[in-house]
Structures are given as structure tokens and as C-alpha cells.
Symmetry: C2
Subunit: 332 residues, 2 copies
């Protein structure tokens, strides 16, 4: 615990009012030597206080917020993350993803991770099914992964997850015996990977907790359009967290968590030929999802992040050193 | 759950970027008919997004924040409130208190409630001790309570709490047998109330949780100067939550939660005459705290809140209807 001696360098923190509390909180926080933390805390305290000042936040509302956050924390478990739901529903997750993973025009856009990714997924080989048999509408997913120059990427690790036919992820069940409707695959030498799954269904985000209550107060529905999650991990490439959305879903343009992007909406096809059915071990009439993913290299992302951060600060009229795409506080 | 039909009135929420996510999140939230909620959410989303945009918040930092908030929620219990500690340490509690309880110049200032108020306090009659015997330095507390015109207030309910001699509130002990160092009293017909207690000691706010870790990262000490909490509840008067601080405390000007105000710092006296010792049932040399509290009427506070809210909005260049001191969203 730091000694009280640091106090000697600080102005006396006395008689703080709605007008001087912000500057003084920033001064006391600035005792850190971490220039990124200093910058982030300065902006956090400024916006937190401005929010309270502009709304004239009352003690009663403040206490309701304390209780809301506490309830969010209490409902969190290994398999439920209410704060991610909150961030998703307030558009923050979408915003952070866009900023942290800028893409060249021809790369596949990212989208929100959501709270249902797990590290339990098992490995599959191409062609296998990641879902239990005889549930949901069968769907063969046939994809490629390449770089922005069109070169196939071999051996990319692809992490896939979707809900079951009832709209629930495996981790949402109290009793379960291992991962379901999720799996890890590797792309082959032509950058191709394929697997059997079920046609995604739309579903509500968990709305029996504080975030659900907030959505209800806001007259917002909790639904996400049908989608399948993909996460790509591949050396030299920026991690891509994205989803494919099934065209024509009733929630396509009102996703509760702002995740839908036009290039990620795909029209599903069906298996029409016996030849194709045989090749993939599926039936005529089964659904087919096809997509060609394009990964961005780490160099491309690093350069874009640095450029966009500098542009954003310039637009805000802020002068700050930007290190690895992140602005930091000035030296004292 | 609201039907998807509301979607018809909304613009399509597609292809959201760091530039258009804020406006679209506000549009979807604006489906509520609660004009106060609408205004608060609009400001919340704006500041949350501006904070993320200005800092270029990374996914890694976002996840650290999610984990921090989750840890805060997990450590909360009936007797521990980490989110109040967080609000206190970030200066928000001080700010909200000042705005929600504006005072005329001659009224006693309020200060932070803190996380250790409990509803377990027992009633005492004037003169009794609210602390267990033979612990700490004995202190007789002799106070009056009046209105801003100097008229004594009879029968005000006074809720008092302080730590024991080791700097811990009763609720911080795992094993305890009822409330200690807290009590409820009523002022007499002359507005006077008095009780025995112990001389307050300085202590660290609980720093074994996420808020303590944050303070450590910021090189901030977690100490509060020695103080005794008072809360006044009296019909017709604004609830006053305040504290008295013992002059000369080493943390007097660096309170970890920004609670100290000059008019609340008092110099302790000692019992010097046998007559006084006899009158209050104390010993020569015991400490004496004296204070004259001045409550603000509900009318005075309501008028000040309305005035200050209007002034604050004008200063911000914002035009909004202000109802009971709180700005609300315009009608659609």
C-alpha cells in the first residue's frame, strides 16, 4: 500500500463540489506512472462525471444503478456473462470490435463475440458434424479462408459455435454432457474447410436478468437474427471474430446487439445433386451455407489502427502520442 | 416481450460502424415512453461511446473491464458493496450527493454515504453509549439540530455510525452479535441530542477486492480520515447524510473517497470539569465532539435543485424540460 507521503505532491482534496470534483479526481489518479492507464482513467472520470452532471443524476437513480450493476455481477457465472450482454445491448461491443479490428475493404468484417464462446470445443476433421444427429435442419457449411491478396490460408484454426434447434447454446443448459453445436476445424492446403451443422435459428439473448429488464423498460425486443459464429486464429493474421447471418430473418435489421453487417448476410442454398450429396455425405434438400472468408494480416491491422487512432484524435482536436494504436497520456 | 412489429418504425440497424453506432443505439433505446429514462440513456450511450472512441478502447481492455465489473459484483454481499466503493473512489458519489442535495450557505453540507450504513441500528435515548464499553478512546458527542432560520428541530431521527477502535464497522466482521458503534437517537424539544461513542479513527476502505487493486495501480492510498457518520431524517426536511471529521488527521486532505468538507472538520475538546463529567456520566479527560447541524427544508432543496439544473443545462447549451430538478427528453 503506498505511503501517505505521496500526498505532499497533491493539492489538498477538500471542499469538492460538482464543479471541481472532476479535476481533482484526475489529479489523484495521475499518481500512476502507466501512461495508458492515466489517459483511460482521465477520459473515464471525465465522461462519468459529465454524464452525471448533464443528467443531474439523483441519489435514487445512482442507487438504482449500483443495484443494477450488483445484480449483473450476481447473475454472472462460468457460463453466463451479463456484463457482456450489457455491453452488447448498449452498442459498446460493436464499437470496440470495429475499432480494434479495422479491415481493408475486401476483408471479411468482424462482429460481436457475444457471451457464448467457450474454450470447451472439441476438434473435428473436415466433413464431420459439430452438432448431435437428428436435431434441427441439417446444413452443410462449405467455406474457404484466404488473405486479402486472394492467397488460400492453410491450417487456419476455425472455432465455430451456434445454438441448438431451440435457440440455446450448450452452456445455457444446467445439465450437459460436453460441448454441443461447437467445434474446432483446420483449413486444408487450399484454404478450404467444411462441416455439417444445423441451420441457425433466431433466439432471444438471455432476458431473465437485469439486462432483460432494461431492454423491457426500453421497449426493445431481445432477439438476435439467426447466425453462426466463427473465430479464426492463424499466425500472422489478426484474429477474426465474425458471424454469418441467414438472409430473410425477421430480426435481420433489428438485432438486439447490433451485430449484423451486409457482407455477412448470406442466402442459404439447398443440396440439389446426388453427386454433391454423396461428396459431403448429406441428403438432397439439406441446407447449404457457403462463404469465402478473407483474413487481414497483423501488419495491415496494426497500420490501420495507428492511422485511424491518429485520425480520430485529430478530429477530436486532441494531441496525444499514439502507441500501437492506443493514445497515452503526455509525460508530466 | 414486445413484438417484433416495433421494428417497422425503426431505421434498419445494419452495418454499424464506430461512426454511426451511437446514433442508432439511441434510436432503438428511444422506443421507451419514459422521458427521463430516454434522456439518461441518451447521455449514457453518448458518453460510453465517446469514452471508447477517444481512448480507442481495445478488445483486451474491454475484456479487462468486463472482468473487473464481474469481480466487483462477485465480492458484493449484504455487508459489502464494491460498486459503492468504486463510485466513491471515482468521485461520482461526492458529485451525485452535491447535486442531489444542494444547500443554502448556512446549512450543514452533506457528504458521501459510503457502503457501511446499515438498517440494523438500535434505538438509544440521549446520553447512552452507542459503542460497547471499554474499547477505544471514550468520547461524548453533544449536538443540536436546527433549520436554516435557527429554529431548533424537535424529534429529528438521527442515525449515527462509526468504526470500532480498530477501524472496522460492525458489518465487516464475519461473526458478529448485533449492531455495534451505530445507533438511532431523537433530538429533544430544544433540538439537542447527545450520546457516548469512541473517538473516530482513520482506516482504509476495504482494499482486498477489485477497487483496492485499482487504487494500487493508480498509486492511491485507500485511507479515509477519522470521521463519524450522521444521517438525519425529519419530516419536511431534506435527508441529510453527512460526517464529522476530526481535525489534524493525516488523511484530512487526501480522503480516498473525496468526502471531507471544511465546515465538517471539527477540533475535539476534552472534558475538563467535574460538573460536566457528572452531567454526561463521563470522565475528566474524555474526548468531546460538539456540532450544531442545520437541516435544509424540502422546499429549499427543491427550489435549489430546479435552479441549479437549469443553470447547468444553460451552461452546457442544452435545452431540455426540467421536472423536479431532473432534465427529461423532448416529446417526439
Amino acid at each position: 500500500m503506498p505511503a501517505v507521503a505521496v500526498a505532499a505532491e497533491l493539492p489538498p482534496l477538500l471542499d469538492l463540489t460538482d464543479e471541481n470534483i472532476t479535476a481533482n479526481t484526475i489529479i489523484i489518479n495521475n499518481q500512476t506512472h502507466d501512461r495508458r492507464l492515466k489517459y483511460v482513467l482521465e477520459r473515464l472520470v471525465t465522461h462519468l462525471h459529465d454524464f452525471a452532471r448533464e443528467t443531474r443524476l439523483s441519489s435514487e437513480e445512482w442507487m438504482a444503478a449500483i443495484e443494477f450493476l450488483t445484480a449483473c455481477g450476481k447473475i454472472c457465472s462460468d457460463t453466463r456473462q451479463e456484463f457482456i450482454l450489457l455491453s452488447d445491448a448498449l452498442g459498446l461491443s460493436c464499437l470496440v470490435d470495429v475499432m480494434d479490428h479495422p479491415k481493408p475493404e475486401n476483408a471479411t468484417p468482424g462482429t460481436v463475440l457475444g457471451p457464448f464462446h467457450s474454450h470447451e470445443a472439441l476438434e473435428f476433421v473436415n466433413g464431420e458434424s459439430i452438432c448431435p444427429p437428428d436435431k434441427g435442419e441439417q446444413c452443410i457449411v462449405i467455406c474457404t479462408v484466404s488473405d486479402t491478396k486472394g492467397r488460400p490460408i492453410e491450417n487456419a484454426l476455425v472455432d465455430i459455435w451456434e445454438t441448438d434447434e431451440t435457440g440455446h447454446y450448450d452452456v445455457q443448459y444446467d445439465v450437459r454432457d460436453g460441448p454441443k453445436c461447437r467445434g474446432l476445424l483446420h483449413s486444408d492446403k487450399d484454404g478450404k474447410f467444411w462441416f455439417k451443422a444445423i441451420r441457425p435459428v433466431s433466439y432471444p439473448i438471455p432476458h431473465d436478468g437485469p439486462v432483460g429488464q432494461l431492454l423491457e423498460k426500453l421497449n426493445r425486443h431481445p432477439f438476435r437474427p439467426s447466425h453462426m459464429h466463427f473465430k479464426f486464429i492463424c499466425e500472422g493474421y489478426d484474429e477474426l471474430v465474425t458471424s454469418l447471418y441467414c438472409k430473410g430473418d425477421p430480426y435481420e435489421t433489428t438485432d438486439a446487439v447490433f451485430g449484423v453487417k451486409s457482407p455477412l448476410i448470406i442466402e442459404l442454398d439447398t443440396v440439389k445433386s446426388a453427386e454433391m450429396a454423396k461428396m459431403y455425405g448429406v441428403e438432397i434438400g439439406d441446407w447449404v451455407m457457403r462463404y469465402d472468408f478473407v483474413l487481414t494480416s497483423q501488419e495491415e491491422v496494426a497500420a490501420l489502427k495507428q492511422q485511424k487512432a491518429s485520425e480520430a484524435l485529430a478530429k477530436l482536436g486532441v494531441t496525444r502520442e499514439v502507441v500501437a494504436g492506443l493514445p497515452i497520456a503526455d509525460l508530466d
